[in-house]
Amino acid sequence: MATMTIAKALNEALRKSLETDPKVVLMGEDIGKLGGVFRITDGLHKDFGEQRVIDTPLAESGIVGTAIGLALRGYRPVVEIQFDGFVFPAYDQIVTQLAKMHARALGKIKLPVVIRIPYGGGIGAVEHHSESPEAYFAHTAGLKVVSPSTPQDAYWMLQQAIDSDDPVIFLEPKRRYWDKGEVDTDGIPAPLHKARTAREGTDLTLAAYGPMVKVCLEAAAAAAEEGRSLEVVDLRSLSPLDFDAVQASVEKTRRLVVVHEAPVQLGMGAEIAARITERCFYHLEAPVLRVGGFHAPYPPARVEEEYLPGLDRVLDAVDRSLAF
């Protein structure tokens, strides 16, 4: 077992994939000598060269579009989008081309492209650097969407995403890049699309992913001091989403609060609330509640802590649920 940050775990995962499979290539802006603006590709350009770690022109559609062509030639491109808000120039290539090509060829070709996106807020950034675009991608058939919340998951899930023959949108919770944790680099990893029970509890289930898992664990710890036992489910994968795991938890606790940074309106929470209500109607003691961003553009950094779900907003939702 080694202790490392999420950033280092991602870096190690990329290194492992580059070593294991000569068809893996990394592409993105500033990922070469600089090692990426978050240094996730640190040292890889030096060790694997510019043929494997490719600095690209500043054109996101071009990055994803050429990654598609490389995949068609038998490569496994891992693309870095510098920030969440910069993915939209590539949105057309991702949604109209990457997601659909396998089906259009009746399964004859595969598109093993991973698109890494540092996403979410909480780092005091300027506009377009703090967004949570997961719902756009989870809405599109043909794409898989995952987000790790721990160094352990960062290490394994990225390698699993690269091994997948499907396009994977890999959302990296950027404000957690420097969080440390234990990483078992030898064990057998959990399946990529399985949810994980991050904390056992009996009174209410908190479902979250990526940056909000930590907030939910903190909320559960705070609630425990008041004698409340909260279960925290780390979804890990958003498409496919492990509804069986959420259902099992809700059948035990009878209450569910979904927490994410993205706006509540038509977000992942809406989908989870609807499906869990369908599956668990007679088990639920309260409506499924959601805690998330507002129907507003991501705000300026000085007020982002009001916009982002924090401990108090999560606990407020817990109170509301338990009051039913």
Binding site: S61, V64, T66, T96, A103, L106, K108, A141
Partner: protein, 383 residues
């Protein structure tokens, strides 16, 4: 609607059209090896030397492609296809460039490259699936190194560039050719493809069929400079070729592909041609363009001009032309029958091939839909 005979008839050249494609004021010269009257001419930079058999082959390719295209248009009018994008008038641009490719080259078409598909050995019937509405592509791109048709304008130029980057990485000496139109030249993806191809010195030929119209918008609404000149700004060569001259297109595309294969990077070929029909069968070109323009271009017909040359130089005789005519009728019949026999897909196929590795939600919805469908079988009769 009946399908007109497509075997080209000899015609009398009109005065006023001699001397090649008419140039607009300030328009550059284009590479030409065969005048509209069927006279062989020389070009200082591009030359071609084809055997009689090869020349007859180009004629046959163009006639059969036109016949296939006409059949597809008829099938659309008869309700057998939902839509058709005709290539009428662009046969030379497509056959000339398609025949310039090697088997190990890779082609990224837009949605009108029926003649290029023909050259690559794709069964024309396969092209009709998406227009009939039974699939969204339907062939294995790697079987003939001919990628799926791409409808979103210009997207495929980036796929072509990425594929070409992969060829470089592999150390192979193949090349890629990406087709797009004059309208697509306005798309950001095409500009980004030019940038990436130039920066990585990718072996890709960008082949623009400037057919003068992007649905109803003329080339003047796309560009203030001739399209081939845009390449210069990206740092690679561009050339304009008479797109209705199959010999010139073949010569120029061969040279461009050789340029790419030999490590000299990308090249842009602008085939200056004309779409004789509508953009698609949903379109009405009489609303936006003049009959005189079409008539002017009719005198530059790619098939007629090659036929004139073959006849004048005694490269082909009547028996050859009759044979091609017979073959084209047989092709039309085969296509007609194959399309009518094309089955609708099984509704359960909606759930197939969405993911290579499977997806829990697809499995769940497939099972639910199967159960829903099965429920009708259990219904009492008469309900």
């Amino acid at each position: 609607m009946s399908v007109k005979s497509t075997a080209a008839k000899p015609r009398t050249p009109r005065t006023g059209t001699r001397g090649g494609a008419k140039r607009r004021e300030g328009e550059p010269e284009l590479v030409q090896l065969l005048t509209p009257e069927g006279e062989r001419v020389q070009h200082s930079e591009y030359s071609i030397d084809l055997s009689p058999e090869e020349l007859r082959g180009l004629y046959r390719d163009m006639v059969l492609t036109r016949r296939f295209d006409a059949e597809a248009t008829s099938l659309q009018r008869q309700g057998e296809l939902g839509l058709w994008a005709s290539l009428l008038g662009q046969e030379a641009a497509q056959i000339g460039s398609g025949r310039a490719t090697r088997p190990d080259d890779y082609v990224f078409p837009t949605y009108r490259e029926h003649g290029v598909a023909w050259c690559r050995g794709v069964d024309p019937v396969n092209l009709l699936g998406m227009f009939r509405g039974v699939n969204h592509g339907g062939w294995d791109p790697n079987e003939n190194n001919f990628h799926l048709y791409t409808i979103v304008i210009g997207s495929q130029t980036l796929h072509a560039t990425g594929y070409a980057m992969g060829i470089s990485k592999d150390g192979a000496d193949s090349a890629v050719i990406a087709y797009f139109g004059d309208g697509a030249s306005s798309q950001g993806d095409v500009a980004e493809a030019f940038t990436f191809a130039a920066v990585y010195n990718a072996p890709v030929v960008f082949f623009c069929q400037n057919n003068q119209w992007a649905i109803s918008e003329p080339t003047e609404k796309q560009s203030r400079v001739p399209i081939y000149q845009r390449a210069a700004g990206f740092g690679f060569p561009g050339v304009r070729v008479d797109g209705n001259d199959v010999l010139a297109v073949l010569a120029v595309t061969r040279a461009a592909l050789e340029h790419a294969r030999s490590g000299q990077g990308p090249m842009l070929v602008e085939a200056f041609t004309y779409r004789m029909g509508a953009h698609t069968t949903s379109d009405d070109p009489t609303r936006y363009r003049l009959d005189e323009e079409r008539e002017q271009w009719e005198h530059k017909d790619p098939i007629l001009r090659l036929r004139s040359y073959l006849e004048k130089d005694g490269i082909a005789d009547e028996a050859f032309f009759a044979g091609v005519e017979e073959e084209s009728e047989a092709l039309g019949k085969r296509v007609r029958e194959a399309v009518r026999a094309m089955p609708d897909p099984d509704p359960m196929s909606i759930f197939e091939n969405i993911y290579a590795d499977g997806h829990a939600l697809v499995d769940e919805e497939r099972a639910q839909f199967a159960a829903y469908q099965a429920s009708f079988a259990d219904s009492p009769e008469g309900h």
